[in-house]
């Protein structure tokens, strides 16, 4: 395999595209888990968002209406998780598992009933998809060695949602660490009793976190079906919700490391696609399955505490019961 510069830029561009849904979903999980609501239903929410945004985009012919539908559907779906884990104080893991199954089944059943294409939604084109955006001066600087192609072919020419995802990272950092809401959100995940004593409603804070989580998974799903592909396919998230969860743990529940973890898992994914069947000079033929399993293996190794120790929010997964 010729590992030239053009191949490298194409892998990097692919990395950005593949990291985008991971960043949205991992940041979604960040808000939820920082507030003390563990959420393993990121996968299901992404599916729901991808499905309903594709449905709305194909019905209306507008990608923006698709995005809106994706966000509304994931908020509503996420609120079920909120209801189970905040109001009814159920087991959050059980609830998340349940929602993943409901999403996997529901999207296919509805897709089949409405379109009869084996769970696929109609092909989206034109304004029903998020097109690519050329950043200013992309053509002009393309001739500059090294930096030029990187700017023109990697950074420029991505979908709008890719830029939104990367802008979400500093925004999330700012919200979490520089606003009153963020401080309370982090506090409620560490010590809800203290927040309660301060006169702030624990359930309402957690519900808000669940809603933000819904918004961001809506973006993740919409990106997958309306920007990255042209329509919804059955089980199209293919475990990305779990990878996002892995990235979140890997990043120790911090926004900027989340971005790097997602980029790492994105580049692994891009390599798995590009290296299919190729043989490298030293290692020989790389097993695609190994690269695909690598994010999971890395997460397990990290969780085992061999590479630093993850410190999850202390009150995560524990329903809050007001003292009497």
């Amino acid at each position: 395999m010729d590992f030239d510069f053009a191949a490298l830029t194409s892998i990097l561009a692919l990395t950005l595209r593949l990291s985008t849904p991971l960043i949205f979903a991992a940041l979604a999980g960040l808000y939820s888990e920082r507030s003390g609501i563990f959420d393993i239903s990121l996968e299901g929410k992404m599916l729901i968002g991808a499905f309903f945004s594709a449905v709305a985009a194909s019905a209306s012919g507008s990608a923006w209406i698709g995005l809106l539908a994706g966000i509304v559907s994931t908020i509503l779906f996420g609120l079920v998780h909120g209801l189970a884990s905040i109001t009814y104080r159920g087991n959050q893991i059980v609830s998340g598992t349940a929602l993943n199954f409901v999403a996997a089944g529901l999207t296919v059943i509805l897709g089949q009933a409405w379109y009869g294409q084996g769970g696929r939604t109609p092909f989206l084109s034109g304004a029903a998809r998020f097109g690519t955006i050329d950043l200013p001066f992309a053509q002009e600087v393309a001739g500059v060695p090294v930096i030029g192609p990187l700017y023109a072919n990697v950074l420029s020419g991505q979908s709008l949602l890719v830029y939104v995802a990367f802008l979400m990272v500093p925004l999330t950092w700012w919200i979490l660490f520089r606003t009153r809401f963020g401080l309370r959100l982090r506090a409620v995940g560490e010590n809800p009793a203290a927040v309660d004593t301060a006169g702030v409603s624990v359930p309402w804070l957690r519900y808000r976190a669940v809603i933000i989580c819904g918004v961001l998974t809506g973006f993740a799903g919409t990106y997958m079906s309306v920007a990255q592909s042209a329509g919804f396919n059955r089980d199209m998230t293919a475990g990305r919700g779990y990878i996002a969860l892995a990235a979140l743990i890997f990043a120790n529940w911090k926004p900027v490391p989340v971005m790097f973890a997602c980029l790492l898992f994105g580049i692994l994914d891009a390599l798995a696609i590009r290296l299919q069947g190729a043989s490298l000079p030293i290692v020989g033929t790389v097993s695609v399955q190994f690269i695909q399993a690598l994010p999971y293996i890395l997460t397990v190794i990290l969780l085992a505490g061999f590479v630093g120790r993850p410190s999850p929010p202390k009150a995560g997964g524990v329903p809050y019961v007001k003292e009497r």
């Binding site: 059980v94 409901v102 089944g105 397990v300």
Partner: protein, 378 residues
């Protein structure tokens, strides 16, 4: 596991509330059926006929039930120890490897009744080994078993694809699966049981592993409620600090619980691999490990509840397959929704109906309200 809001008699706690929760799940599933433009009542009738209307249907139902009893037991054992094993799917998948190891090497050498117990041991050991790592990591390194078992499902899947497209695939074959086992690697079907009742199996793959599942259910009951280890498992699940004060080794109990859980999931592989297809195929557990979560929650972790819950899901699988012929809009994916709804309402939202039912019970019994102990503080 759950903290009751009101002290209720056993028949309400273990009878009425679980049934009401499952009923809610099915009502919501009925709404989905309505949403896709079919009649839920008609769908239920077709499903029941497909599952129990004729000999072959019953046999298929029991074939699926076998899978779900074993995975349900797997999840339930872990639940008793306070562990949520989402990895039964991957453990069953790896269990198939143990099965294949025996069948591929000995199928032409030894008869099935020698290979069967060997395969039971091998699949149990492989499933247990796959669950050992998450168990050990939870006990010793404090990494959460939920996350690690999810990761291990994906790793198992990648590993099995790797082996099935490489090492395990016979030369010259294109399909990613092992060679077909000879007679010594195939479990006998239960034709005789059905001819006994004047019916026929009709090509259904119901085989002797059905009895293995029933035996496993009995042994799990013995283990959890009649042995010292079972007592330790339940204590750990009920209160880890109490277990520690009582001098039980948390590490030991967690690891052993996870290994038993994984081993039971591994046994499930016998049914499709040696009982039906006579080879290992890609993704042969086909979600049975996840159905086990619903079965365990619905059966409240007790074998006496798990067997009927597994039968219900066996019925849904078989009846659902038949239903898809008549109502093409309702495919196998409907079961995935039902499975999710059952987990949601019988598991996560089990507290939803309890206050209402509790209040109704108090009202019927005319108890003075001071006896009502609302929400235990914790």
């Amino acid at each position: 596991m759950s903290r009751p809001y009101v002290k209720l008699p056993a028949w309400i706690e273990y009878g009425l509330i679980p049934i009401a929760n499952v009923a809610v799940a099915f009502i919501v599933a009925g709404l989905v059926v309505l949403l896709v433009g079919e009649s839920p009542v008609e769908a239920a009738k077709l499903m029941l006929y497909g599952a129990f209307g004729y000999g072959g249907g019953i046999a298929f139902t029991l074939y699926y039930t076998t899978n779900f009893i074993l995975t349900g037991l797997s999840v339930a054992v872990a639940f008793h120890g306070g562990l949520f094993n989402i990895g039964s799917e991957g453990q069953a998948y790896i269990g198939g490897l143990g099965c294949a190891l025996v069948a591929l090497n000995l199928d032409t050498v030894l008869p099935w009744w020698v290979n069967f117990p060997l395969a039971v041991i091998a699949s149990f050991v492989f499933g247990a080994a796959w669950a050992f790592i998450p168990g050990w990591l939870q006990a010793r390194r404090g990494s959460h078993v939920v996350i690690t078992t999810i990761m291990f499902n994906f790793i198992a899947s990648a590993l099995m694809v790797y082996l099935l497209v490489g090492m395990l695939k016979p030369m010259g074959s294109m399909a990613p699966e092992t060679r077909t086992f000879q007679a010594g690697g195939q479990l006998p079907k239960l034709d005789w049981l059905f001819t006994l009742f004047g019916s026929s199996l009709g090509g259904a793959p119901l085989n002797v592993s059905f009895f293995l599942a029933l035996l496993a259910a009995f042994l799990v009951w013995v283990l959890i409620w009649r042995t010292r280890l079972g007592y330790e498992i339940r204590t750990l699940g009920f209160s880890p600090s109490a277990a520690r004060y009582a001098g039980m080794s948390q590490t030991k109990v967690v690891v052993i619980t996870m290994m038993i859980s994984g081993g039971l999931a591994g046994l499930m592989a016998l049914n499709p691999v040696m009982g039906d297809q006579a080879r290992v195929q890609i993704d042969f557990p086909a979600g049975a490990g996840f159905v086990g979560i619903a079965v365990a929650l619905m059966g409240r972790g007790h074998p006496a509840g798990i067997i009927p819950a597994a039968l219900l899901f066996g019925m849904l699988y078989q009846g659902g397959a038949e239903l898809a012929f008549d109502m093409p809009n309702i495919s196998r994916d409907m079961i995935v929704i039902i499975q999710g709804l059952v987990i949601l309402f019988a598991g996560a939202m089990e507290n939803m109906l309890r206050p209402g039912i509790g209040a109704a019970f108090q009202f019927v019994r005319f108890r003075p309200s001071k006896d009502v102990q609302a929400e235990e503080p914790r």
